[in-house]
């Protein structure tokens, strides 16, 4: 028996080996190498810059210059805008598409399309819409006497322009998850609430929402991780500008690594953002595991 168990373990290991190897080569090794780089001065474009161990100076550089903190602030601003609006619209759409109304299945399919498009394409689509002189958005707004608005070239509008594109793409994700949860809710609490003479709002507020909370927290958690790493749409639409009004963390890391070629500083910034995201995950997990009745 022990022999069979030992043999099975060997077979498991053989089958697992390719996956472990791929994981090591694509995830673990790059991460270890990035960690190694974060303690070194390494300029890819300038081989004449000495590649030496610099201790924590790359981390010090990241944490003491205002640029990183500014990028962090913009990232959280964008997350706050997009997540709150996506949650609000996503839940509303989910309530709508789960109604027994004609055309809802078609609407559900159409609403899912943005989520399936590559973020770069989404960026390009919105670039055409926002384009100051030739964009459709300003063209239509001109008919109602508004604009033209410098959507992506004004520091007042640029972050909102990115948020709109992100909301357009990812609200269906919240809608889809919420709709799935809504269809699986048990009918008893609703019948009880109906007998008690509650209004539709009271039913939603005190029956539906508490039941949806774990799902909504999970959806928000997944979206938060994604929003924290947002890059493609901003790269296409504003590249962090105007000024640095849309420079999020990913763009900051990109600029350090592939514009200034300071690979060490870029690696250190990546690790700092990894720590932030781990703290964020821990926070979300804790709130997810909290008993909804107690809270």
């Amino acid at each position: 028996m022990a022999y069979i168990r030992k043999r099975n373990r060997s077979i498991f290991l053989i089958f697992l080996l390719p996956a472990i190897l791929v994981l090591f080569l694509t995830t673990i090794y790059p991460m270890l190498y990035a960690g190694y780089l974060s303690f070194r001065s390494y300029d890819l474009a300038k081989p004449f810059v000495p590649r030496v161990f610099v201790g924590l100076s790359n981390y010090q550089n990241v944490l003491t210059t205002g640029d990183f903190l500014h990028a962090l602030k913009i990232t959280f601003q964008l997350m706050a805008i997009t997540l709150s609006i996506q949650l609000f619209i996503g839940v509303g759409l989910a309530l709508l598409v789960t109604q027994r109304l004609p055309g809802m299945s078609i609407a559900r399919t159409l609403l899912l399309i943005p989520m399936m498009i590559s973020p770069v394409i989404v960026g390009l689509v919105w670039l055409f819409l926002y384009f100051p002189e030739l964009g459709y958005l300003n063209y239509f707004l001109s008919y109602i006497g508004i604009g033209p608005i410098s959507w992506i070239t004004s520091p007042d509008w640029a972050l909102w322009a990115i948020a709109i594109a992100d909301i357009w793409q990812w609200t269906p994700f919240i809608m889809m998850g919420t709709a799935a949860a809504l269809t699986s809710l048990s009918p008893e609490p609703y019948e009880a609430a109906k007998i008690d003479g509650n209004t539709r709002w009271q039913v939603f507020r005190y029956v539906t929402l508490p039941q949806l909370k774990p799902v909504l927290v999970s959806l928000l958690f997944l979206r938060a991780i994604d929003a924290f790493k947002i890059y493609d749409i901003i790269f296409v639409l504003t590249k962090g500008g105007p000024g640095d009004s849309t420079e999020v963390l990913s763009l900051y890391i990109y600029r350090q690594s592939f514009t200034f070629w300071q690979m060490g500083v870029g690696a250190a910034a990546s690790f700092v953002s990894l720590i932030i995201i781990v703290v964020l995950i821990t926070f979300f997990f804790k709130s997810l595991n909290r008993d909804p009745m107690q809270s």
Binding site: L44, K46, F48, P148, G240, G243, T259
Partner: protein, 467 residues
């Protein structure tokens, strides 16, 4: 007559034989070029088959937008086995590519083939643009200056002239100072419905279009020529540190800020091509930019302006109207130093072919010219009539200075791009603060290097090809 025919035939046989001999040299050689999708390459790309017919070497040109191209080139240069043997080089990149040994030194090849390539006929500053520590690392394919383009038809309109004189007290003419330039920009900025040269405007008309975008440091490409026109320098000659926060730099930032009001509303997003687009569509009165795209203003197939008006060309204005060295630039072809010897020889043949005087004349005569760098072409009266800006290109380069060529150019372009853009957007309150921020960031990077190295990096040693 018979002997003449015989001589002609013998010559033809000799040329064919020579060509066949060449074909043997590079038969089977395949070259790839990492390049930009702009006139210095787009004119050549459709006819590379002719080079293959001549030499046997096959050339594939991959074209990319300017933003991000240097990133690709740096990555390519850091690879041990290169994919690209030929590289398109913007002259400010020679510092970083030169110091890292990414480009083949062309000095000896140019000296060897000086007669064949008509070295004496090339504007010397255009060759100097491509040198690093005196060694030639790339060969010009398009020679540029930064100059002003204006609406000659509007400037010549009697009503506009009278109105301008009445308002500003002097004649309407291409600006010689930046104050005049701003006056002209203000004068011509008009709303839809107002009159321009006797006709009601259907849409807003702008006095000026400059590049204010931070993307790929586009704003710096206008800021630095203006700074230079005030007599400013990039570097402190005593320390090799940043001097781009000088009085001249502040004056340049002030000019750009004052011009904001007369630019299109999306000015913060104006890249080079979007900005030139306004001039090409005849939607602005003036715009100063690199001559590489000026040729489009002469071609009705590429611009609206030649069909509705006429473009005029003049040297860049200066601070007080006294002459300052013209800011030049070169868009060039270089050879990857890691290519094999045979590939390098074939690549040099390609460069000679693609940048030859005959090729440049052919482009000019076909109407799809590039910004030229051969004196004989720029001074040709027929071509000057066809391309009036040739005269400006030729005359201004008698007194010219090259662009920045420092190994930290990419840092300068990006950092100043962001800081200037923030100032123009109103995120930074003063030009002093913006430029001081930028210089501090640059100096932080530079101060880790010894002073003698910093001074070597800013030393513009004369090109050894002339020795």
């Amino acid at each position: 007559m018979k002997s003449l025919r015989l001589t002609a035939f013998a010559s033809a046989v000799t040329i064919t034989a020579a060509t066949m001999a060449h074909a043997k040299d590079f038969d089977g050689v395949e070259l790839k070029m990492l390049a930009i999708g702009d006139t210095s390459v787009t004119r050549l790309a459709p006819i590379v088959d002719e080079f293959e017919e001549l030499t046997g070497a096959k050339v594939q040109i991959d074209m990319f937008p300017y933003p991000g191209l240097i990133d690709k080139i740096v990555i390519e240069a850091s690879a041990d086995s290169p994919s690209y043997q030929l590289m398109w080089v913007d002259s400010p990149w020679v510092g970083v590519l030169g110091e890292s040994g990414a480009l083949e030194d062309l000095t000896d090849l140019v000296k060897r083939d000086a007669e064949e390539i008509h070295l004496d006929d090339i504007l010397p500053i255009q060759l100097q643009e491509n040198t690093w520590q005196g060694r030639l690392l790339a060969f010009p394919a398009s020679g540029m200056i930064w100059h002003q383009n204006y609406r000659k038809d509007l400037y010549g309109n009697a009503d506009e002239q009278a109105a301008f004189k009445e308002k500003y007290g002097y004649d309407l003419a291409p600006a010689q100072t930046w104050d005049q330039y701003i006056d002209i920009a203000e004068f011509f900025t008009r709303k839809a419905g107002e009159t321009l040269a006797g006709e009601a405007l259907e849409k807003d008309f702008y006095g000026n279009a400059q590049a204010y975008s931070r993307v790929a440091g586009a704003i710096t490409h206008d800021f630095f020529p203006i700074m230079r026109s005030f007599g400013g320098s990039y570097w402190d000659p005593e320390t090799g540190l940043c001097a781009m926060d000088s009085e001249a730099a502040l004056a340049a930032a002030d000019v750009m800020k004052r011009l904001v009001a007369f630019n299109p509303p999306d000015y913060l997003g104006l890249m080079w091509d979007i900005r030139t687009g306004y001039m090409e569509r005849a939607e602005v009165a003036q715009s100063s930019y690199w001559s590489v795209r000026t040729v489009r203003l002469t071609n009705p197939e590429e611009a609206v302006l030649p069909t509705v008006g006429e473009a005029g060309y003049a040297a860049s204005p200066t601070g007080d109207g006294t002459a300052q060295p013209t800011m030049t630039g070169a868009l060039s072809f270089g050879i990857n130093s890691k290519a094999t010897d045979q590939e390098k020889e074939a690549a040099w043949e390609f460069i000679k072919w693609g940048t030859s005087r005959d090729m440049m004349r052919r482009f000019a005569e076909e109407g799809s010219g590039v910004s030229q760098f051969y004196k004989s072409i720029l001074s040709d009266p027929d071509l000057q009539e066809k391309y009036p800006y040739y005269k400006v290109l030729l005359e201004t380069q008698d007194n010219a200075r090259r662009r920045i060529f420092h190994p930290f150019y990419a840092d300068v372009e990006e950092i100043f791009g962001v800081e200037l853009n923030k100032y123009m957007a109103g995120e930074t309150e003063t030009a002093e603060e913006a430029l001081a921020n930028a210089c501090t960031k640059i100096n932080t990077r530079l101060k880790v290097f010894p002073e003698d190295l910093r001074l070597r990096w800013i030393n513009d040693a004369p090109a050894e090809i002339f020795n």
